[in-house]
């Protein structure tokens, strides 16, 4: 199976070449690219699913011409769970690109996107199966660089160049930490092959250093809260199907790395779990709060990625805590929730990004406040977007609910450890998780309401139209994926069980079954019932009422003749919540106050830059640059004698140090 998987990866890797090479027959090259990509993805999916049934997991070990171990691939339980959404989204994004980023409209840039999209897909699919540090780092770096070129697609835009640059800095800072991590992990043996699960002691200093380095390096990629600063701009500036893949899959590789390195240690110290849990809570809440304050639909979705990474980290932290306090049911539920949320977030977030892409293509802008009333023009896009929104808010009957429910259960199970155990403090994450869900709901009511409901806010030269079939099909498939997991969570439980076994290692005590801990079958029945009720209500609503014509506009505040300007805007809808969190947001608000009964013209504008990037990193680095320039103008005299003096002084210092 691993051989088939490798062959599929080669197909995916080459998929961009036809589109790149056949400049003159753009459409044909593009079609050939998509066919290659879909073929490779299908083969890889077959291999992954087959590996998901096989015990023991298939391994491919080849001799390698470098001394640090072997070329080892293993399709174990964790890898399968990360690969499934990755491959589906990869294929769907490729199809979506036919309509969204066609060669006839974008020329050479489209070929470039196809090429790097294939390379990115290959490296991302390779990462979860690597069992060697050097191979992992190579795939990691290929992923980082191909993603850099994809962000740079719109290279004539200053914002895209800046986003790509910030991304490059961030990802290389992370990679540096990963180099240190794998060197520490290899230790003095010099063998970079990954250790098997739960074979290393967790209480050593080296283990702590490995964990912290991983938290930095992988957290940077995942977009964990203080390290998320590259993420909003990068997601906003890439083409939508690339953003979908980045947000749905690529940042998950950071989570994958954390899951993998924590699996090496048999009994992690409790502070690992607490750290991950605390960072998860911060990411979840602050991510969604920042999302609420955004006006750019893709930036908003990007901050929701930060939020969901936070939710996944809460699950992982819960599992780590369960591991430290030897509480298997907490481990099983927390990890199952985290892994399932990885799959789910991949599906619904890419669905949302693709939906946002359709809206952007129809209107030509990313600003939510320019949309309005798009439901009539693009009903299918609106429906799929609504599906994604319901899923991301964690509402039944879609998939987001199932994974968040598992995490809730895991946190609640911490109570069964007894009142005096510090593990029971983990329950404090539950209110945070609940608040995150509520804020996410508010945020998506805002997005959906302002975008698709109400009336149009501006006249577009080309009236917005429904997206073509090549863009609706991927959205439909992803929506069906969300629905399937929401309705039949029991279908994916065996895979989760395998993932947990891979994480805990084979030598561990009996792993509790998720099905006994969490009655997924009841979820399934409830979801079907709910879907039935929704169907009935919808059916009854669809008959036109008598006074249909006289009904005022949505959110028209009861005025019969409301204008398009008298609607909620993205700012006004979120204003109250944004004000509540202004201690963390630091928004720029130029407030137009209206005083008196006949106020003069007033203007209001608000803008929420990223706290870490715009308030902290930019000023710090500007000051550093200024200091460096001063230092340079002092040392850089242009006289050869002075440079030679520097050489001589360095030599003297080295000689003195030698003594």
């Amino acid at each position: 199976m691993a051989e088939l998987f490798l062959a599929a990866l080669i197909l995916i890797f080459c998929s961009g070449l036809p589109a790149m090479a056949w400049g003159r027959w753009g459409r044909r090259g593009e079609l050939a690219s998509v066919i290659l990509l879909v073929l490779g993805v299908s083969l890889a999916l077959v291999a992954t699913l087959a590996a998901g049934m096989q015990t023991p997991a298939p391994i491919l070990a080849l001799a390698w011409a470098h001394p640090a171990g072997q070329f080892v691939l293993e399709l174990d339980g964790i890898a399968v769970l990360f690969l499934l959404p990755a491959l589906v989204i990869l294929g769907m994004g490729g199809i979506y690109g036919l309509g969204y980023f066609p060669q006839v409209k974008f020329g050479r840039a489209a070929g470039r996107v196809r090429l790097f999209y294939g390379i990115l897909g290959t490296s991302v699919a390779l990462l979860p199966v690597c069992r060697n540090g050097i191979l992992f780092l190579m795939a990691w770096e290929v992923m980082a660089l191909s993603c850099f070129f994809l962000i740079l697609t719109d290279q004539k835009e200053e914002s895209a160049r800046r986003a790509a640059y910030v991304y490059l800095m961030a990802t290389h800072a992370g990679t540096l930490a990963l180099f240190a991590l794998f060197i520490l992990l290899a230790g003095s043996s010099g063998n970079f092959d990954f250790p098997w699960a739960a074979t290393l002691p967790g209480a050593t200093v080296t283990a702590g250093a490995v964990f912290l380095l991983g938290l930095f390096g992988f957290g940077m990629k995942a977009g964990m809260m203080p390290l998320h600063f590259w993420l909003p701009a990068a997601h906003a500036n890439a083409p939508s199907h690339v953003s979908a893949f980045m947000s749905g899959v690529m940042i998950k590789m950071g989570i994958y790395g954390l899951v993998r390195i924590t699996s090496f240690y048999s009994s992690p110290p409790a502070w690992w779990g607490w750290t991950v849990l605390a960072l998860g809570v911060i990411s979840a809440i602050m991510g969604v709060v920042f999302a609420l304050a955004q006006h750019d639909i893709k930036r908003l979705l990007a901050y929701h990625s930060v939020e969901n990474i936070g939710i996944i980290l809460i699950g992982l932290g819960c599992a780590l805590l369960g591991q430290s306090f030897h509480h298997p049911s907490v481990v099983a539920l927390g990890l199952a929730g985290a892994l399932l949320h990885v799959v789910n977030h991949g599906l619904f977030k890419s669905l949302l990004f693709l939906g946002a892409g359709s809206v952007i293509q129809a209107t030509g802008t990313r600003m939510i406040d320019h949309y309005g009333g798009l439901l009539r023009a693009m009903p299918y896009t609106a429906f799929f977007f609504l599906g994604g929104a319901v899923a991301i808010c964690g509402l039944p009957p879609l998939n987001g609910f199932v994974s968040e429910w598992l995490i809730y259960l895991g946190l609640l199970h911490s109570q069964t450890a007894g009142a005096i155990s510090p593990l029971s403090l983990a329950v404090l994450a539950i209110p945070a998780l609940a608040m995150t869900g509520a804020l996410a709901l508010a945020c998506f009511v805002k997005v959906f309401g302002v975008t698709f409901l109400g009336t149009a806010r501006r006249d577009f030269q080309i009236p917005p139209q429904e997206a073509p079939g090549s863009m609706l099909l991927p959205m439909g498939v992803l929506f069906l994926g969300c629905l399937a997991i929401g309705l039949m969570p029991w279908a994916i439980v065996p895979l989760l069980q395998r993932g947990i076994v891979s994480w805990l290692g084979t030598g561990s005590v009996a792993v509790p079954l998720i099905t006994t801990l969490a009655p997924v079958i009841w979820i399934s029945l409830g979801a079907i019932l709910l879907l039935g009720i929704i169907g009935v209500v919808w059916y009854r609503q669809s008959f036109p009422e008598d006074d249909y014509q006289r009904r005022p506009a949505t959110w028209g505040c009861g005025y019969i003749k409301g204008t398009a300007r008298m609607q909620y805007s993205a700012s006004s809808f979120a204003e109250q919540l944004v004000r509540l969190f202004r201690w963390g947001l630091w928004s720029d608000i130029s407030e137009g106050r209206t005083i008196g009964f006949f106020p003069a013209l007033a203007r209001f504008a608000d803008h929420t830059p990223d706290v870490v990037l715009d308030r902290l990193l930019y000023p710090t680095f500007r000051a550093l640059t200024r200091a460096a320039f001063l230092l340079r103008s002092f040392f850089h005299q242009g006289r050869i004698n002075v440079y030679l003096l520097y050489c001589a002084l360095t030599l003297c210092l080295l000689l003195i140090w030698l003594i």
Partner: protein
């Protein structure tokens, strides 16, 4: 044998001081030729007669004692300069610094963990002292030609150091080093001519305008 080479090495140090203190270019070049000639004796003295050492000595003598001084003489004739008028650091301070550096290199090499057969010889301290002299020359002088002299002294220091390794170093490497030096001086001489023609001076100060 050792005593002779030690005496020669002490002579090299004396010549170093002369180079640091003298402003007349012609005598500096002559001194360098003399220094090169002395150095070319060292391989034979230190390691005895053999094809390897004889070859090395001959080539070193031809290059350091004859070819390079000849090129330098030609260069100063072409550009019509006789003395370094205004050094960045004066002659007396340079001499004092040179003395300090020489003393420092003797102290330093005394503390180095050398193998016994090298610990008594003067190769290491003299090599270091000559390197330091070269550095001082490069740092303190303004004219392109005196800087070329600095590089030559520098190379002489490396040559003395290399004496310790003659047995271990393949012939080709040493021949390569010597050839490099010749080419370097060749280029330097051409360069000096060009600088002189362009700016009608030999001061390297004008090159500061090249800084960004």
């Amino acid at each position: 044998m050792d005593t002779i080479s030690n005496i020669l090495l002490l002579l090299v140090i004396l010549l170093n001081f002369f180079l640091l203190g003298s402003s007349r270019l012609a005598s500096c070049i002559r001194t360098i030729a003399l220094q090169g000639g002395i150095l070319s004796l060292l391989p034979v003295l230190a390691h005895g007669f053999s094809g390897h050492t004889l070859f090395l000595s001959t080539v070193a003598f031809l290059l350091k004692g004859i070819a390079i001084p000849y090129l330098l003489f030609r260069a100063i004739r072409q550009v019509h300069i006789r003395r370094e008028i205004e050094p960045l650091i004066g002659y007396v301070p340079t001499l004092i610094l040179g003395t300090l550096a020489t003393a420092g290199s003797f102290i330093f090499s005394g503390r180095l963990p050398l193998i016994p057969e090298h610990s008594q010889s003067l190769f290491v301290p003299v090599g270091l002292a000559t390197l330091a002299t070269g550095f001082l020359m490069l740092i303190s002088r303004r004219k392109a030609i005196t800087q070329a002299l600095g590089y030559l002294i520098f190379e002489n220091g490396i040559f003395i150091f290399g004496m310790l390794l003659t047995e271990a170093m393949p012939l080709m490497v040493e021949a390569g080093v010597l050839l490099d030096l010749l080419v370097g001086v060749f280029v330097m001489a051409i360069l000096m001519h060009q600088i002189n023609r362009e700016f009608s001076t030999m001061n390297t100060d004008n090159l500061t305008s090249l800084k960004e």
